[in-house]
């Protein structure tokens, strides 16, 4: 990712410890970056795994530390025992570009790395269906959030988000 604003599409998994299988999978999907470094030329996708844009990136962000020290259930943050946040960021130069190849690249890596997922990070959650929200929070945190929502926003005025509806 770059410092200037670009269009982008971000997905992620929270994962356990890094192993050879995950490393190999990621290396395969990052192939051919050097062959597409010029953004003015058509970006070639030479294999289904190769990156679609030189602006795209995959980050393995270490978790643990203070995140893991807070007791589970004390806050709205789930999956505190994850070792890494695997961030798959597709970015492309212009809002006028077709976003589909870039989003599909990110979706392919996300699907390929699902076996290593221990949960979803709420701020990168794409699936805003009730199942997706539940996957991000887990049932216990979701239930507490729904109670908080019922108290402070019973009519769900703030609904255009990864929404936790109030308990009835």
């Amino acid at each position: 990712m770059v410092a200037e604003p670009t269009p982008y599409y971000m997905r992620s998994h929270l994962t356990g410890p890094l192993d050879a299988g995950l490393a190999d999978t990621l290396a395969g999907h990052a192939a051919d970056v050097t062959s597409s470094l010029s953004v003015s030329s058509p970006l070639s996708v030479s294999s289904p795994l190769s990156v679609s844009s030189p602006l795209s990136a995959v980050l393995l962000v270490p978790m643990g530390g203070a995140i893991a020290r807070a007791p589970a259930g004390d806050t709205a943050v789930a999956h505190r025992d994850a070792a890494y946040c695997l961030e798959i960021g597709a970015a492309w130069p212009s809002p006028h570009d077709d976003p589909r190849p870039h989003r599909e690249w990110a979706d392919r890596i996300w699907q390929a790395t699902r076996p290593w997922s221990v949960g979803n990070e709420v701020n990168h959650q794409i699936d805003d269906s009730s199942d997706g929200v539940l996957a991000a929070y887990g049932p216990e945190i979701q239930a507490r959030l729904a109670e908080v929502k019922a108290r402070w926003d019973p009519r769900n005025v703030f609904s255009l988000n990864l929404n936790v509806p109030p308990t009835a």
């Binding site: 604003p5 670009t6 269009p7 982008y8 599409y9 005025v157 703030f158 609904s159 255009l160």
Partner: protein
């Protein structure tokens, strides 16, 4: 109570395109009204106005997420 209410930005306003832009340039939304709030009273006024009009409301903070 010194606030004169939120600054309302609607389509056609010279500030509209700048105000509706967020960090992710893939997002291209055209809200009916953008209420720029300076304090809690402005937020209350904007929410009262929006809910009374039956609008769907989203919070726009720094614009990153």
């Amino acid at each position: 109570m010194t606030s004169s209410g939120p600054r309302l930005i609607v389509p056609g306003d010279p500030e509209y395109d700048r105000a509706r832009r967020v960090w992710n340039l893939a997002v291209d939304r055209r809200p009916m009204v953008i209420a720029r709030c300076a304090d809690a009273d402005d937020v209350v006024a904007a929410l009262a106005m929006g809910t009374a009009a039956g609008m769907r409301i989203a919070v726009r903070g720094g614009g990153h997420s």
